[in-house]
Amino acid sequence: MKDNQPVLLVEDDVVDAMTVSRSFRELSISNEVIHRINGVEALEYLKGTERQPCLILLDINMPKMNGIEFLEKVKRSEGHRRIPVVVLTTSNDQRDKLEAFNLGVAGYMLKPMDYSQFVTVVKDIDRYWTISELPS
């Protein structure tokens, strides 16, 4: 990504979180991955830190507070609504896509089952957000 702020990964599946971290390593993406397992913990992180993420990677189906509920809260917050959010999920549900885009997501990627395809998706996200300017 463009700057060296961390990427916030909101994901309840441990294997998927490890896959994201592994693909970051493999692609030599130097941004630190901060992992939170649901929307509640991710919001707590955003509220309590000075190291705001440059990008949020967000799963949809999570216990406690799901991705859509998290988005509603983040996008209502003056301080956090500028952070681009990219959904990374297995949900191919039309309603999830529409709700996510209505709430201003900057991408919605389906997680491929296959690892090499997963790396390709992460690479595309990284390249796009490397050429894009980001709010500082």
């Binding site: 500028r82 896509k97 885009f101 209505n102 919605y108 390249r127 050429i131 894009s132 709010p135």
Partner: protein, 140 residues
């Protein structure tokens, strides 16, 4: 992103319009590229229920009358239009423009390179990213 959906280019600079059209041709991007030289025209187009919704908007910021960020703010206030993603494509690297664009939910902010080869790479990356991206099926 579906290849049969139009992409809107909101841009008043003739050279930049030609460069974008040329990049689309050379990259074999088959989405129809609809050009609007003013934000008012682009808004009228978006509000026209008879026409298919675009899958993406490429948006310049420095446009006379209504600016790109005003356009973003305005169309994002319509429930039936707000899902449509806009990528800012501009010469401005002003932090205020960046902040404002993301405040109104721009889905990317690219500073236009002057060199055509580099410009084409930016268009290629935008296309690649949005081709991987799922979008809601619009109710046209």
């Amino acid at each position: 992103m579906r290849a049969d959906r139009p992409i809107l280019l909101v841009e008043d600079d003739e050279v930049d319009i030609l460069s974008t059209q040329r990049a689309f041709r050379e990259l074999d991007i088959i989405n129809p590229l609809e050009v609007y030289r003013g934000c008012d025209e682009a808004l009228t187009r978006l509000l026209d229920e008879e026409r298919p919704k675009p899958c993406l908007i490429l948006l310049d910021l420095n446009i006379p009358r209504i600016s790109g960020t005003e356009f973003l703010r305005h169309y994002k206030s319509y429930e039936r239009l707000r899902w449509i993603p806009s990528v800012v494509l501009t010469t401005s690297s002003n932090q205020r423009d960046i902040q404002e664009s993301f405040f109104y939910q721009a889905a990317g902010y690219m500073v236009k390179p002057l060199d055509f080869k580099q410009f084409k790479e930016v268009i290629a990356q935008i296309h690649s990213y949005w081709s991987h991206c799922e979008l809601p099926e619009p109710r046209d």
